[in-house]
């Protein structure tokens, strides 16, 4: 996974910051929906976490490569550091552009009928962007949601999308620097610490949720982020220390 190649990399707070990038992109964007999204702006990097509107997002996809595979479903749930708001949770099944492999159908629990009746991403993009507008997105493993959405929008609108994300998997890697046992411990049978979503949740006493449902996974990441902040950070931590 891409982020494991750069565990030492610290998020950048240097210029140009995300607020500036958003302002520039708002001027450039030609699609109205995208323009509105950028115009909602982005919080300054020094904003304390407690004041940042957040939204946890998860995609189910037909594979791992944004250039070959396609989005099947999107789940998102807004939150703050103290509460996760299920009344504003959203879940969409969208029609992938590529034929659905039998394999992934069983994993996601989504049937062909559901897929056939599902809208194309274009039809829900306005709703999706307005749910994200003004908020900072939380994902578990940043190699999926942002690149997939970027490619999907380039494909459909001719222009991609950029936005900051908080990566709960990267946080797990960062707070467990010793997670790969040295050769002696490996010899004694110690395994590397898993930073997958279910395993990470277990370390904070969070319950087991059935995996591979976009909305459940979004909720799972949202809970994990609340737990991580209470254990390792503080409400005063500037968002710029955590986003990518």
């Amino acid at each position: 996974m891409s982020n494991q190649k750069d565990p030492q990399r610290r998020p950048q707070t240097a210029t140009p910051g995300w607020p500036d990038i958003f302002a520039a992109l708002a001027a450039e964007a030609s699609d109205g929906r995208l323009k509105t999204f950028y115009e909602a702006g982005c919080v300054a990097p020094e904003t304390p976490l407690a004041e940042v509107p957040l939204v946890a997002m998860d995609f189910e996809t037909t594979g791992l490569d944004p250039n070959q595979h396609s989005i099947v479903s999107i789940g998102l749930v807004p939150l703050s550091l103290v509460r996760i708001y299920s009344r504003d949770a959203r879940h969409w099944v969208v029609r992938p552009l590529l034929p659905l492999h039998q394999q992934s159908v069983t994993i996601h629990g989504i049937t062909h009928t559901e897929i056939d009746q599902a809208p194309d991403l274009t039809e829900i993009i306005g709703d999706l962007l307005s749910a994200l507008a003004g908020k900072v997105v939380i994902v578990h493993h940043r190699g999926i949601e942002r690149p997939f959405l970027d490619v999907a929008m380039q494909w459909r609108l001719g222009e991609g999308i950029r936005f900051p994300v908080i990566d709960t998997m990267a946080i797990e890697a960062q707070v467990n620097p010793q997670r790969r046992p040295n050769w002696l411990r490996r010899l004694q049978g110690q395994r590397p610490l898993s930073i997958r979503l279910p395993d990470s949740r277990t370390r904070y006493g969070l319950p087991h949720y059935a995996p591979h449902h976009a909305l459940s996974d979004a909720l799972a990441s949202a809970e994990l982020f609340q737990a991580q902040v209470q254990h390792h950070f503080s409400p005063h931590t500037p968002i710029g220390e955590l986003w990518y």
Partner: protein
């Protein structure tokens, strides 16, 4: 479009008072829930803050306090709090703090008000629960009620991970690592529907595969446990606890209509049981030497007292204490085998008496024996088994299980014999019975294999069950012995007390109560050819035959439970007061309720003995 949060909805639907609400109401609630995480030790709500939500514990544990700061209640998964403030004054009455890392589902106040107004079952629950909880101080009952009222399905968090029983070790290990589980169910896929063929656990991988350095391509079927111990999905937590204790397993598949629904682990129940019996047991298996075991043994009387205070019944307490005793034996045998090397021939370590009956209490000595393989050659092998028996016996003594005064221990060469000799012993006892010698061998008719080739013990149980029911003379002798100890009741239903000595003017609840009751029930059990060992189980087996008059089995069960629980409470009180527990109570220390019921119970025993004399033509009362 509102998105359905399936995880929230499903969990709510499994717990009171939400389980009785209609589907659309549950949909509405789960779409309004706000989720909040609280790290252990943080305050959730403080006194006199405005009440905003009804809190539902999704995972973790929460302490509820009185205004004075005194602990009022301790809640766990599926419990709710905050309703009192919402119903009354709109401010928090009972502050709450996270005891463990806790995930809460917060149901907004207006949703609560609507549920309260529209759903009677919901209103009843939140109102009545609160009134009763007010009366109880820190409700310890709550926890024990959970053990007795909560079904095992509550602990299932995911479907079991399964694999075909044809896979290799390496594949099994890979699946377990990938799924993050400590037990894997193996299925026989040659049948439709697939049936459970066995289970393999982390412990199996360590003790069977790694220590013997088995190649990774070994078929998993070679090391899996194929005599699967499982539990029905409608069983209660305490049944799961007893099953684990009795069989020394740490994982139980939960089975519904022949199909596995999930696996529950020792650790799942330990959480429910809040540091009690199973906690002690899991601690025993972690000890590396006798010194460590001795340290753990100090917790045994604490967990005994805790169970008594939690209102567990005598069956639960007896089984739990026997489970602890078995675990000490098993761990000592493992340690002994580590020290002395693997046994030269197969053997079975056998518990006798109260441990075998799952009726052990806190004051107890060790009664055990060894059944060796018929290939046993004293000259070659006995040195090993003698040393092992001594190691275990000394270890047990160090852990508070005093040496048996009658020398019924595996250290005695007479009780360390091959299966063939044991068969002769039992055959002789049954076919050539003599009252006096039977008195001493009585204890061998309560037996349980607890380590090694338990099939040896099963063979002996089977032999006893078959031969005993056919030997009228044996049953008559046994019945006669069972009449030796009479209940302490005088002609006018007055208590007859022991005279003189340390226990002057007391009643011995064991000698005059529980022991003659188990003696009596043992005779009926052997007569009906049952292999049951626990006295309550034996009564069930007997009740299924026509051996006893109508209603008699129920009366005996109630009498046994009552005498046993008075005895247990008496011992718990002594421990709490720092005195040595014993079996002798003074009638004036009993409440009038206890005295009255105790007399009734002794009367049942007396009637039971009269029937026993008549039924088996037992020669005379006292020898």
């Amino acid at each position: 479009m509102q998105a359905e949060l399936i995880e929230i909805r499903n969990h709510l639907s499994q717990h009171e008072p939400f389980d009785e609400l209609p589907d659309e109401t549950l949909d509405m609630i789960s779409s309004q829930v706000e989720v909040a995480y609280y790290r252990a030790g943080t305050d959730i709500s403080e006194f006199d803050q405005p009440s905003t939500d009804l809190f539902y514990i999704r995972s973790g544990a929460v302490d509820i306090f009185r205004r004075s700061g005194e602990l009022y209640n301790r809640l766990g998964e599926g419990d709710i709090f905050g309703q009192f403030g919402l119903m009354m004054k709109k401010t928090v009455r009972f502050p709450a703090r996270a005891l463990e890392d806790t995930l809460l589902y917060c149901i907004p106040g207006d949703v609560f008000q609507e549920l309260w107004k529209t759903h009677d079952s919901f209103a009843d629950f939140v109102e009545i629960e609160d009134r009763t909880r007010l009366r109880t101080a820190v409700s310890r009952r709550q926890k024990s009620n959970e053990l007795m009222n909560v079904r095992v399905t509550r602990l299932i968090s995911r479907p079991p991970i399964t694999a075909p029983d044809t896979i290799r070790l390496q594949e099994a290990a890979r699946i377990m690592t990938h799924e993050g589980v400590s037990a894997l169910l193996l299925m026989d896929e040659s049948r439709t529907p697939h049936t459970m063929a066995g289970i393999i656990t982390d412990r199996d991988l360590r003790t069977r595969a790694l220590t013997e350095a088995l190649p990774s391509e070994t078929p998993v079927a070679d090391i899996m446990s194929s005599d699967l111990i499982s539990i029905r999905s409608d069983a209660y937590l305490f049944e799961a606890m007893l099953t684990m204790l009795h069989n020394n397993v740490h994982h139980l598949p939960v089975v519904e209509k022949g199909q596995p629904r999930g696996i529950i682990g020792l650790s799942d129940i330990v959480r429910y049981e809040s540091q009690s019996t199973l906690f002690v047991v899991s601690n025993i298996y972690r000890q590396k030497d006798v010194k460590g075991l001795k340290a753990v043994s100090k917790d045994v009387s604490l967990s005994f007292v805790r169970m008594v205070n939690e209102d567990a019944n005598s069956h639960m307490i007896g089984s739990a204490m026997a489970g602890i005793g078995r675990s000490f034996c098993q761990r000592l045998l493992e340690l002994g085998e580590e020290q002395l090397g693997p046994p030269p021939v197969p053997y079975c370590f056998m518990a006798l008496g109260s441990m075998a009956r799952d009726e052990q209490l806190i004051v107890t000595d060790q009664d055990n024996a060894m059944v060796l393989d018929d290939a046993f050659d004293p000259a070659q092998h006995d040195e090993y088994f003698k040393a092992l028996a001594k190691f275990v016996s000394d270890g047990l003594a160090a852990c508070g299980y005093s040496y048996c005064t009658g020398d019924i221990m595996a250290t005695n060469a007479k009780w360390r014999q091959p299966l063939r000799v044991w068969k002769e012993y039992f055959t002789d006892w049954i076919e050539n019975p003599e009252a006096q010698s039977l008195l001493h061998s009585n204890i061998f008719f309560d037996l349980a294999g607890i380590h090694g080739e338990t099939a040896f013990t099963d063979t002996l149980k089977q032999l006893v069950a078959e031969k005993a029911s056919r030997s009228r003379r044996f049953l008559a002798m046994l019945a006669r012995n069972a009449l030796n100890r009479t209940p302490p009741l005088g002609f006018f239903r007055t208590f007859v007390m022991e005279e003189g000595g340390e226990h002057n003017k007391t009643i011995n609840l064991k000698r005059r109560g529980t022991a003659p009751l188990s003696d009596l029930i043992r005779v009926h059990t052997l007569a009906c050819g049952s292999t049951a060992q626990n006295t309550f189980e034996r009564l069930k087996a007997v009740a299924e035959t026509r051996l006893l008059p109508e209603g008699s089995a129920e009366n005996l069960r109630d009498a046994l439970e009552f005498i046993a629980i008075v005895r247990i409470r008496h011992q718990a009180l002594a421990i709490e007061a720092g005195r040595a527990p014993n079996n002798s109570v003074r009638p004036e220390d009993l409440s009038s309720f206890e005295r009255r019921n105790l007399k009734d119970a002794f009367q049942v025993l007396s009637n039971g003995q009269k029937f026993l004399r008549y039924r088996y033509h037992a020669p005379t009362g006292r020898p």
